[in-house]
Symmetry: D2
Subunit: 225 residues, 4 copies
């Protein structure tokens, strides 16, 4: 008898809540560059994150969408935020950009000045907040996996990452400090001081381990409300 009562109570209180959640899962957009573009592939970090949430029985509470385009820098995100993010009416947006802003200084001569990086980044934050969207910021991960700060762009990546940390603090936003997380992982696991092959295939883009690593960090930030 008590069991039945409990069952009813469970049904009574839980069903409407579940129903509501099923009607409207949290919509999450990952906004970034080629790493995020690859994030929706079979072993990509967004795909893996979806599986992780499913395994936790949270799959129906989150709708994950990729919005990554290869080669994008901060102002590319700015230029396409209406079409590719706001139009999707997300609740949460992970902003993960900066590697090309630094890298393209060398490879194309068209990287982004630090002060402009911050300006456009803040313009993105503003647009998201003006639309009641919660931004979660990510520091740029790596260009080269050597763990002794001898990758060519390490200096700049550290500098740009520091600015993202400042922005997260200034605007009280969630932060996935990928730069620090990758560095900590590589110090432990890259004993040969290799340039690639631990979390990346090519110094930048993630191998399966890297995508898993990223998915775990993203999930932690997503569940930490």
């Amino acid at each position: 008898m008590k069991k039945l009562f409990n069952y009813l109570r469970l049904t009574f209180f839980t069903l409407p809540f579940l129903a509501m959640q099923q009607d409207k899962p949290l919509r999450v957009v990952f906004f970034g560059d080629s790493i995020t573009q690859q994030g929706v592939s079979e072993k990509g970090y967004i795909t893996q994150l979806r599986s992780m949430l499913d395994a936790k029985g949270l799959g129906n509470q989150y709708e994950l969408m990729g919005a990554g385009i290869g080669g994008n820098k901060v102002y590319d995100l700015y230029l396409r935020i209406e079409d590719d993010v706001l139009a999707k009416k997300p609740d949460v947006v992970f902003v993960y950009v900066g590697i090309n802003d630094v890298w393209h200084k060398r490879s194309h001569g068209t990287g982004t000045d630090l002060d402009k990086y911050v300006k456009f980044y803040e313009a993105i934050i503003k647009k998201l907040k003006d639309n009641n969207i919660r931004p979660i910021l990510c520091t740029p991960s790596v260009i080269g996996e050597r763990m002794d700060y001898s990758n060519e762009q390490d200096g700049d990546l550290n500098l740009y990452a520091a600015k993202i940390r400042d922005l997260a603090k200034k605007h009280s936003l969630g932060l996935v400090d990928l730069r620090a997380e990758f560095q900590a992982y590589l110090e432990k696991n890259n004993t040969n001081n290799d340039e690639r092959g631990i979390l990346t295939t090519d110094r930048v883009h993630l191998n399966e381990t890297g995508n898993t690593f990223l998915a775990e960090k993203m999930m932690a930030a997503l569940l930490q409300k």
Copy 2:
């Protein structure tokens, strides 16, 4: 008798119009980089243009304002157009930007990709037209005055200038083709193939002759309604 009538008619119709013009001169903003920032100095091209208009008795019909900041690239103009241009409610805006977009590729690694240059440039044009402001476009002049296309950035300047010409045509806008004008002048006058000293002091910034040359080209475009 008919002559008198004509005179009266002329007076009758014209005076109010002139009066109106005197009440409200055409407000012209020069929007650009360090060359324009220096344009308001004693011998600068904006100052010289004002004198030229005065000499033609047109001084009270034009109000000239400088809005140049050193080091600016196209997206710097974009980021400050509201504060520095729209707020001044101009009728005409000369857009003169591109040298740093090309030059900073080499000097800072933070030049502007050609496609982004066009995107931000068109965003500027749109903002001006949306505010009923007439844009007049200027092609980037020179980085180095050698006349045989052996200045390091000549290739890129030619490429970016071609895009400005396309934009002027596409949007039916006035164009001051400084790149072509400078080249033509230098082919005639730079017989030693010097790098500087003909129209510039330092390969980029204008000497007095250069400022006069620029003022003349700007005036021609301004008077050509």
Copy 3:
């Protein structure tokens, strides 16, 4: 009788000479970068030049050898001249280098300063002349085939090419002015102002037409003693 005598005299004097030439053909080394490395492939310019000489019946008078390595700049040639050129004891060496010296400024940040380019180039000339080898200089061809000087490196290529012309004059050396030859060809044949596909596959490396074009220019310089 006189005719017979003449015939005999001809035989007498000429045959040993021809024999000598057949015994010891002129040894020609092509010293350069990836374009020259590809020059020894099936359709490469060195291979084509060999066929052209054969077709003229001059095949046994010339021994052609490639010494090109991808990515080489002037000081790479300098560093390997003993092993890769002098050790082969050539009579003539085509020096064809400069594209990477200019290109790597943008792509790797490790191009060659103009003054160092000249210094190492002259050190190469000196080593060749000290070994009684005749250098033939080549100006750098193209990085991009647009014919209106709107390829990004056109300015620098024109500048470096001018220095090679000066060096050829200063040291009284043969010159293959590839830069001027390509430009003239492209002005006539690149009516769409395309970036590639006329003489190159990828803006730099030669397609079959380009290799034929190069072989012709090299042959003209080689036969002009």
Copy 4:
């Protein structure tokens, strides 16, 4: 008696040796870039080192000579080693080069590839050893004094410095590990994480404290025979 004998023996054997040393002081050349060029100024590190040696009563045992030229990279040293170093017939040469090899990648597009840096560096070592000169190698100090590896060139400087350490080990040469020494000093003393002003005036060139610091490190290496 034995004591007296020992004293005499010491006198007998040592005095002539000291006399010889006084007759012919050790000739030391500092071979490098603008930092070394400034090293011979009034407060420069070479000048300070001379005073330090004087204060130790060792002034007449060392003859110090500067051979620094602003903007020099490793192949500039290579190109002028005969005239500027070998001609002076030194006993010891401090080789302190690498900052411009890294820096000019960004500022001029003409930095030095790591593998060429090593090749020319080894060619310099060889020329010194072939002339019975003892090379002492120095790792490149800093471009920017931030102590958290957020100076733009930190990655590359760490990489190039590691190669110098390898070269010193491989050739069994003295090493002044300026990179490590500066980093250790800055970690302690640059509590504001400033970009300049601790040991440098402008992120690269040394202030008086920096010159003193350098002189001390150089002296330690010089006296350690």
